[in-house]
């Protein structure tokens, strides 16, 4: 039984490790092996933590709709328009030109 659990754990981590390089090309500073680390390591790496109380006031500058915080990719996501605003050093970047388009296939980032 434990072997099953172990094997599933291994395949999941391998799968997520394989997922990240296929993900969109990035301007982000987070290294690709981020999601594979343990929870505590991930917190230590984005050391300045994003302040969740900001979510009360922050909205998407384009549509003025509330955003969803995605802890894994460290972004604020607007589902409706399909864009993600990056967070660097705990400071969210709400400039529309620097947001990333979330597309089903591998996405192109609109750099400026």
């Amino acid at each position: 039984m434990f072997k099953n659990v172990l094997s599933r754990l291994v395949t999941e981590t391998v799968r997520s490790r394989r997922y990240v390089p296929n993900g969109p090309v990035i301007q982000r500073l987070i290294p690709a092996s981020g999601p594979v680390r343990t929870f505590t390591d991930r917190k230590g790496e984005a050391q300045p933590q994003f302040d969740a109380s900001l979510l009360d006031v922050l909205v998407c500058p384009l549509s003025k709709k509330p955003l969803r915080y995605d802890a894994e990719t460290n972004e604020l996501i607007n589902e409706e328009l399909g864009i993600a605003y990056p967070i660097l050093d705990g400071i969210p970047n709400m400039i529309p030109q620097e947001a990333r388009l979330i597309q089903k296939d591998s996405a192109e980032t609109p750099t400026h």
Binding site: P48, D51, S53, L54, V57, L58, V59, C60, P61, L62, S63, K64, P66, L81, I83, L88, D89, G90, I91, P92, N93, M94, I95, P96, Q97, A99, L101, E108, P110, T111, H112
Partner: protein, 326 residues
């Protein structure tokens, strides 16, 4: 007839502006020519590129934001030192005056636009803290002989008064980084948040803030009227708009001394301390291009603010404009 059609089209485009795809917006911002979906502003210009001033130069509008960004990116590290050197420390007095006129009460929500290194927000939080201490002392003194009402209030479960909060917003990441480092070294973190955002397109919902300040930032904005409209939008009804900005000196003697100092001393100081002549040349030129006190007051009133007044500081070198959203 053509003009009114153009107006209607422009309005329709502005309404659908929000739904325009990002790639198009990104492409238009990247190219120097603003013939793209962002064309709602160009339509009024009869197929000519809109141009604006960058200091004494004339540049296309899309250029200005980029160049201003570069200026502040270069000066971010030495920004505070340069402020002290250029204004001989007087800028501290200006900012303190802003806080005194603002007179914020505990529970106030501040949006510090173009807050950069966070000077206004730090002062805001200090002011609120000293206000709270003063209130506590007053309560302690008066509760020496409590009335029946006071005693019953003490028994009732008190709601936590709204915590005051300062959000520092700036278009430039470098300035915010410097500000955040300053906050960390001062140990200030409660009630302070940092956001990268554009003054012309604020990432905040309507009716959020009690006070909106923009200190020495509005002359760098490409479309000042849009920034003013956004300020009106995010303020609560009853909220206050406050703007510190360099302005026109009326006294002729002072004006001559000020001009000589600006154009001859400041870029030199900039070169010596920050190693950047051009950025400080831009600074003094942009001050001269900014509208004077009365004109700016008119712009604020046009945006929809009421009870707009201005206070001249240091003989008009700096003007503090204030308006209310009613």
């Amino acid at each position: 007839m053509a003009a009114s059609m153009r107006l209607l089209v422009r309005r329709a485009i502005r309404l659908s502006h929000k739904n325009i795809t990002l790639t198009a917006a990104g492409a238009a911002a990247r190219s120097d020519c603003c013939r793209g979906p962002l064309v709602c502003r160009c339509f009024s210009d009869e197929a000519e590129d809109r141009s604006t001033h960058f200091g004494f130069e004339t540049v296309p509008e899309t250029e200005k934001a980029k160049r201003v960004y570069k200026v502040f990116e270069n000066v971010a590290q030495k920004y505070d030192i340069m402020n002290d050197a250029m204004s001989l420390g007087i800028h501290r007095m200006w900012k303190d005056t802003l806080l005194h006129v603002m007179h914020p009460q505990p529970g106030a929500q501040l949006l510090d636009m173009a807050g950069g290194t966070g000077d206004i927000s730090f002062r805001f939080l200090d002011y609120i803290r000293s206000q709270e201490e003063r209130q506590k002392r007053r309560v302690a003194r008066s509760s020496q002989t409590p009335s029946w009402r006071d005693i019953s209030n003490n028994y009732s479960t008190q709601d936590e008064p709204r915590e005051s909060r300062a959000v520092v917003c700036d278009i430039n990441k470098e300035m915010l980084k410097v500000g955040k480092q300053k906050a960390d070294s001062l140990g200030v973190s409660a009630g302070l948040s940092w956001v990268v955002g554009d003054a012309e397109e604020l990432p905040f919902d309507d009716d959020q803030f009690d006070i909106y300040t923009i200190a020495f930032g509005i002359r760098n904005v490409t479309h000042i009227d849009q920034a003013l409209q956004e300020a009106l939008r995010v303020l609560k009804p009853g909220g206050r708009f406050m703007c510190l900005e360099f302005s026109k000196v009326n006294n002729p003697i002072l004006s001559r001394i000020y001009d000589a100092y600006s154009f001859q001393m400041i870029p030199v100081i900039g070169e010596v301390i920050a190693g950047d002549w051009k950025s400080y040349q831009y600074l003094v030129e942009s001050i001269r291009k900014f509208p004077n006190q009365e004109e700016f007051k008119g712009m604020i009133e046009d945006a929809g603010f009421y009870c707009v007044k201005y206070y001249n500081l240091t003989g008009g070198v700096v003007a503090l404009h204030s308006g209310f959203k009613l």
